[in-house]
């Protein structure tokens, strides 16, 4: 089977081939149609081909929403380019719609005169009705301004797989590979990466392997033989920085960052957590790599997830817990315990739309203020945020560095678009990871005495004495600690001192993190300041404007508490500051409060990331106002 599909000539086409610098493709279908898989395979083939790319998967919260309905539509958008891009793009050039609902809910985003690839057989009465169409859009002329490539995907898939031994419902499962084959033809993508992936994935189920390969090939052949489109397209490899690249999602990069942090700290890793969308994939990935000495603990609830993490931190593991918004709320009390006991641990929050259960599968920069302030009492702690899928790796190591050096819990923020989105990542040489180890205390730290709350004069961190160490037996807990001894203390002056000390310890970290850097035009009057997943769109918008000669500068924060020491100076050197955020203005609140500047917000909470064009428009509006 495999050799026939793998050797299809990549450039064989009866039609002309046109070179594009970038293209945006969106796959849309029922959540059972396998669109995420088709999208990921197309992405990996493009990655292997050397394109720069960025992806944005979006799916309903329900695992199987009612078939054929708008609510059940699952999409995967990918932008591929021959240059350095940072976002999955605004308007798809091509929409693959596996059913009427997929067409209806995505058509508004497709660029004028774009291409629409449809499974014509799904456009039947019942599906049209479910999607809210009175007439068949394939026949009523409403799509005349688009180029339509229509294929009877079900008949052709059935035909293709009939010799392979799959039966019943399995037969039509392969139709996403038909669609993928057709797209591979249209965009001159190599089939080998997909073939290899299928061979690995289904090595134990040859009939499914063969069916998928057959459908893939049939899709390609359909394009070739019917001359489905006059023109096929190619996007050349991008000229990225030299290096070895992989295509990585934020959740995977974060899981690898957890493992890497353990190695950089020379400590075994503990990951205590409770399943929650969209953070669970970090647990899944870590569970697969126990030979790195990783202990994963799937707890009975969010509280136990972090509770066990506190226990592991006390016992000398590099301890992480992962969650999303509602889980962070549940963990709040235990985070305070970690803060009071001054134990190093890292809390990963993959943000999603809130409040309450909110929008579990949609991106929102929902929890910045909650991360910084969401604890009872005076409870400052470091908060960091990844700016892109691949940055999730480095930011996790940075969080562990701060947690260990300062003996404190640290929150790292990701969000749904970082977690499930992907981008090429220039792989680091892991032998050059920083040494972030914090040696355990092995004997008395004050003459012949051990004082649990004696502090390092520079960092104010206490020593880490773990169970099993003779002579250092001690008790810690949530009650206020007496300075130095760590005994319970109700002394009011001591409480003031300890609150001041804990605050100073965290504030001082500002001197130990990279200063914020500005990009773009240093003489611009406007600074666009961002944090987290808006990095790509802000850069994208600024680059477009700079190309047109519009002066604008940008800066992006990875450290949200404390802020980099030079942030105030940077902000004050511009006349205006614009802060685009996928929330109602959380960073804006912080910046206004901290620096007393009239920062301007650009805010959106409509379950999707910013479009580059939106941010670009807003920047122009502010500059011209």
């Amino acid at each position: 089977m495999s050799e026939t599909t793998a050797t299809l000539p990549v450039n064989e086409s009866p039609s002309e081939q046109q070179e594009l610098d970038k293209v945006i493709i969106r796959f849309a279908g029922d959540s059972g149609d396998g669109m995420q898989l088709a999208g990921t395979r197309f992405t990996d083939a493009s990655a292997a081909f050397g394109n720069d790319l960025a992806t944005f998967p979006s799916f309903p919260a329900e695992i199987r929403a009612p078939a054929g309905t708008l609510a059940g539509v699952s999409t995967f958008q990918v932008q591929i380019a021959d240059f350095d891009i940072l976002t999955p793009g605004d308007e798809p050039d091509v929409l693959v719609a596996m059913n009427p609902a997929g067409l209806k809910s995505n058509l508004k985003d497709v660029r004028p005169n774009g291409t629409i690839v449809v499974n014509s057989e799904a456009f039947i009465e019942r599906n049209l009705h479910r999607a809210g169409y009175d007439k068949n859009p394939l026949e009523d002329g409403s799509l005349d301004s688009y180029r339509i490539i229509s294929a009877p995907m079900e008949t052709l898939t059935k035909e293709a797989v009939k010799e392979t031994g799959v039966t019943g419902r399995e037969v039509l499962r392969s139709k996403n590979f038909f669609a993928l084959g057709l797209m591979a033809w249209l965009f001159n993508r190599p089939l080998d990466p997909t073939t290899e992936w299928l061979e690995k994935k289904f090595s134990k189920r040859p009939e499914v392997l063969n069916a998928n390969l057959a459908a893939l090939k049939a899709g390609w052949n359909f394009g070739l033989t019917t001359d489905a489109a006059r023109t096929t397209y190619s996007v050349k490899p991008a000229k990225l920085e030299p290096g070895t690249y992989t295509n990585v999602t934020g959740n995977t990069a974060m899981a690898w960052g957890v493992i890497a942090a353990g190695q950089a700290a020379k400590l075994p890793v503990f990951y205590g957590t409770y399943p929650i969308t969209p953070a669970s994939d970090i647990l899944h990935e870590l569970s697969r790599h126990k030979n790195f000495g990783v202990k994963t603990f799937q707890a009975e609830d969010e509280i136990a997830g972090i509770g066990a993490t506190v226990g592991a931190a006390f016992t000398g593991h590099l301890a992480f817990t992962g969650t999303s918004g509602p889980g962070l709320a549940l963990k709040s009390e235990t985070i305070s315990l970690a803060l009071m006991t001054e134990l190093p641990l890292i809390i990963i929050d993959v943000q999603r739309g809130g409040p309450s259960t909110g929008l579990p599968t949609k991106p929102e920069q929902a929890d910045l203020l909650f991360s910084i302030f969401g604890r009872h009492g005076e409870a400052p702690m470091p908060v960091l945020a990844a700016k892109s899928p691949s940055d999730a790796f480095a930011i996790t190591i940075e969080a562990a560095r701060i947690a260990l050096k300062y003996m404190t819990p640290v929150i790292v923020l990701s969000d749904n678009s970082i977690a499930t989105g992907s981008e090429p990542w220039n792989l680091p040489d892991v032998s050059k990871l920083p040494d972030i180890s914090k040696p355990f205390l092995t004997g008395p730290n004050a003459g012949d005495e051990y004082l649990p709350y004696l502090r390092d004069p520079q960092t104010f961190a206490r020593d880490w004495a773990v169970p099993g160490t003779p002579g250092l037996e001690h008790r810690i807990g949530g009650l206020e600690k007496q300075e130095v001894t760590g005994n319970v203390s109700y002394d009011p002056n001591n409480h003031q001192l300890m609150i001041d000390t804990r605050a100073w310890k965290i504030a001082n970290i500002a001197n130990d993190i990279d200063p914020v850097e500005t990009d773009g035009d240093p003489d611009a009057k406007l600074l666009v300041l961002g944090w987290g997943s808006t990095y790509g769109v802000i850069q994208g918008a600024a680059r477009r404007l700079l190309k047109r000669g519009v002066p604008v500068a940008t800066a992006h924060l990875r450290h949200l508490n404390p802020f980099p020491a030079n942030l105030g100076e940077v902000i004050r050197s511009f006349e205006k500051v614009l802060i685009p955020e996928l929330n109602m203005g959380q960073l804006r609140h912080l910046i206004r409060a901290e620096y007393l500047v009239p920062a301007i917000g650009f805010n959106k909470v409509s379950a999707e990331p910013f479009k580059v064009s939106e941010v670009e428009k807003k920047i122009l509006e502010i500059i011209e106002s």
């Binding site: 990655a47 292997a48 081909f49 050397g50 490899p237 000229k239 990225l240 920085e241 030299p242 290096g243 070895t244 690249y245 992989t246 295509n247 990585v248 995977t252 690898w256 493992i259 075994p268 503990f270 205590g272 126990k290 030979n291 790195f292 000495g293 990783v294 202990k295 603990f297 707890a299 009975e300 609830d301 136990a304 509770g307 066990a308 993490t309 506190v310 226990g311 592991a312 006390f314 016992t315 000398g316 301890a319 235990t334 315990l337 006991t341 790796f393 220039n426 792989l427 040489d429 892991v430 169970p467 099993g468 003779p470 037996e473 008790r475 810690i476 807990g477 949530g478 005994n487 319970v488």
Partner: protein, 336 residues
Amino acid sequence: MTTLNYKRADFQSDQEVKWCPGCGDYTILASVQSYMAEMGVAREDVVFISGIGCSSRFPYYMNTYGMHSIHGRAPAIASGVITANPDLSVWVVTGDGDALSIGGNHLIHALRRNVNLKILLFNNQIYGLTKGQYSPTSEVGKTTKSTPLGSIDFPFNPVSLALGADASFVARTLDMDRKHTIEILKRAHEHEGTALIEIYQNCNVFNDKAFNALTGKEERDFNQIRMEDGEPIIFGPDREKAVVIENGVARIVDTNSVDPSQIHVHDSHQVNPSMAFALSRLSSHPDGPTPLGIFRDINRPVYDREVSRQIEAVTEKRGPGDLQKLIASQGTWTVE
């Protein structure tokens, strides 16, 4: 390693003990410290984790590693400690409010997983630290500050609850009976897996004499049902009462009203928990005859050991992880 030659004082910390005078917690502390001296585990390998409540001050008074944590969460935190280092001897000290109300979920899941924790549940049937509200083990009708008309909450039977969660070791003892307490502590330590020990503890300030039926000079001989492995369960000052189990239900009968072969012979090692459960239902409350001793003591895989075993097995099979290979494992391409 140095030979362990501890005295009780080696396990006493320098902190002043601050329970109310006359509280049952003092006796339990003394029993635990005495047992620690003879347990045969190095002091640095002993960890006490507690939640919140009067009993949860316990770790401060133990000269071992310890954490006085937050309300109800001790089993979760202790699970992290023992999973990180299965060679430690980890003890959880908790109360009826801490373990059965706010922390009920963590308790049953620790029992279900069979994490190697020794859980000492000080049951005084009242909230002491918050000054006298009814607890999840208070009897129906109890008048407290929060139930001036009498409690309408039906209480838990902690032993039945633990058996229902498939706990591998469940026992009950009395604060006053130091010898019995120490014997149970020893058996719990020797047991591999979670051990739940319910300790009836007198709160002389808010719920005095709650266990009088079992501790009062006049009453105790009539009401203490001592369970010993291999022995028929017979009790009373003149051994005039006995326990029979029929159709899964345990009953108290006059010893001479039944054939001796009908009297239940205790076996805590029975894998099937039905007999242990039947015994636990003999008393819904300690105001009459109440079983004391070990209800269940069986072997099944221990969570923290299994975690380490899986890691060892997969490392043996695949070799230690190579991070550079891992980050390249999803396919790579090279840009020159």
